[in-house]
């Protein structure tokens, strides 16, 4: 029978098929190939193991890094926030006790967990990857089935290297354009924001999304990761892209990628990892990429987005009562007036970074826009590489000098202002253009107002001081 990519990966990881009876249908039991761990969602899981007298079944399939809490400046000093420091130290103790490898602050491989896994070559096609973090969907860009889990599930995977799961439904998202490219100034971030605006924050619930079509095929691995990363913002636990030459090229030679004869064997297997031509999806969505322009969010959930060329919407025109109330609340929280052109919305802070857009290509794109220009007066711009490797790479290319010459702050690696668990936060009422993934109320700091944007829009906005795209610059 014809199968989708998601079904193939699922079936190759079945430890046990759940029994189905009239009264009870059990979930399947799936083997997990890679378990990524960070300091925030793991302490209670390790404590659970300790209380039950259990060990970590496969420390060699588990990797921890410090990312959410870590400061991005003065990183050689102890963490000033005592509670954050305790959480990071707890991870170090747990990893030592249970034998889990860890990349701590200041290690050359430290960084955001979803940036670290791929750059080490650990994230590979056809694997099952989990992490106590909803943006684990990022790793689906390699044709892995990757999804976020809660702390109880973290404990479950640590103890058993498996998870009981119900089969997901499958949704094909076909992104196409006449020549397979995106228009100038349009990035994969704009594509995924447009997809979320189209299907809504709940549209992907219960589904694995498979992104396909000529536009997806022409994207780099980094651009693919940006799209898969935000699958969760459409409610889908996982998003996947079939591996191809671009994937193999990215992986070849990376530390944990197969070597020698095993490389050829692996690639031959990976080539099978695509949805069969006559495979049926439970749902399909078509996106016309020729119609896409730079996209920004205006509200407090990621589906509340519009092309930058539009105006702040008028809630009175929204038919659905719940959505209308949500839009009214969002405008009040965001301090926006219906009808204002989005290009006239002024911004206090620009954040470039996160597991969505904190990779080297993202920094290159932002640097190219800002090179030779200045950050607008009174505006703060933070550039936070997604990992130490990204930081070193950027510095070797001189990107740090471009950013600092423009008046931006060049920082060390971590999640930073995406969620403000470290000192990088918005003040109440402060407005940001952010390359991160969530514009929820208070996400970047209590009372902070977030507009989600691409790295290109972020950099142009930093120069003009209002939401802008590179074409708005002289």
């Amino acid at each position: 029978m014809a199968k989708t990519l998601a079904e193939k990966v699922w079936e190759s990881h079945l430890v046990r098929v759940g029994e189905d009876s009239a009264e009870l249908s059990e979930p399947d039991l799936l083997y997990i190939d890679l378990h990524l761990v960070h300091e925030v969602t793991s302490p209670q899981a390790f404590e659970g193991l300790r209380l039950a007298g259990r060990r970590v079944r496969r420390p060699d399939l588990t990797l921890a890094t410090e990312d959410h809490n870590v400061p991005t400046k003065d990183v050689e000093l102890p963490i000033a926030d005592e509670v954050s420091r305790t959480q990071v130290e707890t991870l170090r103790r747990n990893c030592a006790e249970f034998g889990v490898p860890l990349y701590p602050m200041n290690h050359a491989e430290q960084g955001i967990v979803h940036v670290v896994g791929p750059q080490l070559g650990l994230t590979q096609p056809g694997l099952t990857v989990v992490c106590g973090d909803s943006h684990t969907s990022t790793h689906g860009a390699f044709g892995a089935m990757a999804f976020g889990i809660g702390t109880s599930e973290v404990e479950h995977v640590l103890a058993t290297q498996t998870l009981p799961l119900r089969r997901f439904k499958t949704m094909a998202i076909n992104v196409t354009s006449a020549d397979g490219t995106l228009r100038p100034g349009v990035t994969s971030k704009d594509v995924v924001l447009a997809i979320i605006a189209e299907i809504g924050t709940g549209g992907g619930q219960g589904y694995v999304l498979e992104y396909r079509g000529n536009v997806i095929e022409n994207l780099s691995m980094e651009a693919r990761m940006t799209i898969c990363n935000m699958s969760i913002e459409a409610g889908a636990r996982a998003g996947m892209i079939a591996p191809d030459e671009t994937t193999f090229e990215y992986l070849k030679g990376r530390g944990h990628a197969p070597k020698g004869a095993e490389w050829g064997e692996a690639v031959a297997t990976w080539r099978q990892l695509r949805s069969d031509d006559d495979a049926e999806f439970d749902a399909e969505v078509d996106i016309d990429a020729d119609a896409l322009t730079p996209f920004v969010t205006w509200g407090t959930n990621p589906s509340q987005g519009l092309p930058l060329s539009e105006r702040v919407p008028d809630p009175a025109t929204i038919a659905d009562e719940n959505e209308r109330i949500a839009a009214e609340r969002a405008l009040a929280y965001m301090g926006l007036t219906a009808g204002t052109p989005l290009r006239e919305v002024s911004v206090d802070t620009v954040f470039v970074g996160s597991c969505t857009n904190g990779r080297i290509e993202d920094l290159r794109a932002a640097a190219e826009v800002i090179k030779g220009r200045k950050v607008a007066d009174g505006l703060r711009m933070l550039v936070v590489p997604g990992s130490m490797r990204v930081r070193f790479q950027a510095e070797s290319e001189g990107l740090d000098a471009i950013f600092t010459a423009a008046g931006a702050q060049w920082r060390s690696a971590g999640c930073s202002m995406c969620l403000g668990m470290n000192p990088d936060q918005l003040a109440p009422g402060e407005r940001s253009a952010s390359t991160s993934n969530r514009n929820f109320e208070g996400r970047q700091g209590k009372g902070g107002r977030t507009h989600l944007v691409s790295p290109l829009v972020a950099a142009a906005t930093a120069v003009r001081g209002t939401l802008s795209s590179p074409e708005d610059l002289d």
Partner: protein
């Protein structure tokens, strides 16, 4: 986990859709390494508004939350479930739950009861017109019934396996370890080229 069969408590109308887990508990409360004491973080930004429903009697003593669609979206933080339970909630009713949040509820014994949106609207009106109305949630029957003059009964949906686990109070890791031999067999057959982190 404590078995769950029925629960009766004051219903709290939360007329908001897309209640994300950053609203349920902001990231600043996630720095703790303990498993309890998260009630202070629950809806902490909204609770600073004196008109927020949980700041009014009798709702502040509520234990059955009735919320708008797409409850629990966003971050995978199980802290959202801990905060709701530490505050005293035992049941959340909504017409649509985010997947990870629903899974986390099932692990902790917080009942996520999926009810059709028109029924949510009926419950909201009733709870607002008669504050303090108690709701009895019966997991065996899969119903939520308001106690009082109105006597509204609505049906809810829940995955049958989750329902069974909650009724029995069973722990997932224990259930999985019944199949330890199958895990051993699967592991022994995995190709040697698959990546290791060490």
């Amino acid at each position: 986990m404590e078995p769950f069969s029925t629960h009766t408590g004051i219903g709290v109308p939360l007329r908001r859709s897309n209640v994300d887990t950053d609203q349920i508990i902001p990231a600043v409360y996630l720095k703790r390494v303990t498993r309890t004491g998260f009630e202070d973080g629950l809806f902490s930004a909204w609770r600073q508004d004196e008109h927020f429903v949980l700041n009014a009697e009798p709702f502040r003593r509520g234990s059955v939350l009735v919320a708008g669609p797409d409850f629990g979206t966003g971050s995978s933080r199980e802290h959202a479930v801990w905060a709701l339970m530490d505050y005293g909630f035992r049941v959340v009713i909504s017409s649509r739950f985010a997947d990870i949040f629903r899974g986390n509820c099932a692990k902790q014994g917080l009942l996520a009861a999926q009810v059709a949106q028109p029924d949510v609207e009926l419950l909201w009106k009733l709870l607002e017109n008669e504050p303090g109305t108690e709701i009895t949630v019966d997991l065996r029957e899969k119903t939520a019934r308001t106690n009082g003059a109105s006597g509204l009964t609505v049906a809810f949906e829940i995955d049958d396996y989750t329902r069974w686990r909650l009724l029995e109070g069973l722990d997932d890791i224990g259930l999985t370890l019944r199949h330890a031999e199958l895990i051993d067999q699967f592991e022994a057959a995995r190709p040697a080229r698959l990546p290791r982190t060490v």
